[in-house]
C-alpha cells in the first residue's frame, strides 16, 4: 500500500505494475485519475494551486484507506495526490485498487475518491482572467460521500 502527497507527476502504468507485481492473487485492477480542467464555474482556469495540511493529510488518507479495507475485500491500494501549482491537462490525483474480483475493487475505488474529496485536507485555488479565487466545496461531493454512510441499525 502507498499513500503519497507530492509535487511530481505520476505514471499510472508504473503504479499499477508495482501493485500487481507483488500480488499474484490480483484478478481485478480499478483506478481513477482526476485531472485539471481548463474551465470551472464559467471561468477559464490558467493554473490551479493545491494547498494541504502536511501531517493531517497523510493521516486522513490512511484512515480512508483503512475504512475501505474494512468494508471491501481488496488486496492493496495506492493513493497519490499532487500539491503545488498545476495547469490544465495535468494529473491531480490517482487511486488504484487491486483485488481478487472487480465488484469490490470498483466500489472501493469510488468510495476512496468520494471520501478523499470530502475528508482529506486539500484546498484548490484557481487563477482566472478575473484574478485568483479559492474553489468552493460542492454540495454534490457531500451527497456522493453520504451514499456510503452505513445504515443505522434500528434499536431492537
Amino acid at each position: 500500500m502507498g499513500i503519497r502527497v507530492q509535487t511530481e507527476d505520476f505514471d499510472i502504468a508504473r503504479e499499477i505494475a508495482a501493485l500487481r507485481a507483488t500480488n499474484p492473487k490480483v484478478g481485478a485492477v480499478a483506478s481513477f485519475i482526476g485531472t485539471v480542467r481548463d474551465v470551472n464555474d464559467g471561468s477559464a482556469v490558467a493554473t490551479l494551486t493545491l494547498e494541504h495540511y502536511p501531517g493531517m493529510t497523510e493521516k486522513a488518507l490512511a484512515g480512508i484507506v483503512a475504512e475501505a479495507r474494512s468494508r471491501w475485500r481488496i488486496i492493496d491500494v495506492t493513493v497519490i495526490h499532487r500539491v503545488g501549482e498545476l495547469k490544465p491537462l495535468d494529473q491531480i490525483v490517482l487511486v488504484v485498487v487491486v483485488g481478487e474480483h472487480r465488484g469490490d475493487a470498483f466500489a472501493a475505488c469510488e468510495f476512496l475518491m468520494d471520501y478523499l474529496k470530502t475528508r482529506a485536507p486539500f484546498w484548490k485555488k484557481e487563477q482566472t482572467p478575473a484574478g485568483s479565487r479559492w474553489v468552493d466545496a460542492r454540495g454534490s461531493d457531500d451527497i456522493a460521500a453520504e451514499r456510503w454512510a452505513k445504515p443505522k441499525r434500528d434499536a431492537a
Binding site: E51, Y53, G55, T118, A120, P121, W134, A137, D141
Partner: protein, 84 residues
C-alpha cells in the same frame, strides 16, 4: 502553549499560517478558542464568525466545537476541503 494553524482562504484573510498561543484559563474547548480569537478584531470576527463555513481539527483529527483544547495541542482552522 498551543499551536494554531490556518489554511487556504482563512490563512490569506488572517495574514498568517500559524502561531503559538498561551491558552487563557477559560479557553478549554474549540468553541471557546474560536471566540477568543474572534475578539482580536473585525478581521478575525468576519473570518471566524458564525457566517464562516469553517472546519476545525485538533491534533490533526476533525473536531467538533465542544472538543477539548489543552496545552500542547495543535488546533487547525480551515474552510471545507476541495481536493481530488
Amino acid at each position: 502553549m498551543i499551536k494554531v494553524l490556518y489554511f487556504a482562504k482563512l490563512r490569506e484573510d488572517l495574514g498568517k499560517g500559524s502561531e503559538e498561543l498561551s491558552l487563557p484559563g477559560e479557553v478549554t474547548t474549540v468553541a471557546a478558542l474560536r471566540a477568543h480569537l474572534m475578539a482580536r478584531g473585525a478581521n478575525w470576527q468576519s473570518a471566524l464568525g458564525p457566517g464562516a463555513a469553517l472546519r476545525v481539527a485538533v491534533n490533526q483529527e476533525v473536531a467538533e466545537a465542544s472538543a477539548p483544547v489543552r496545552a500542547g495541542d495543535e488546533v487547525a482552522f480551515f474552510p471545507p476541503v476541495t481536493g481530488g
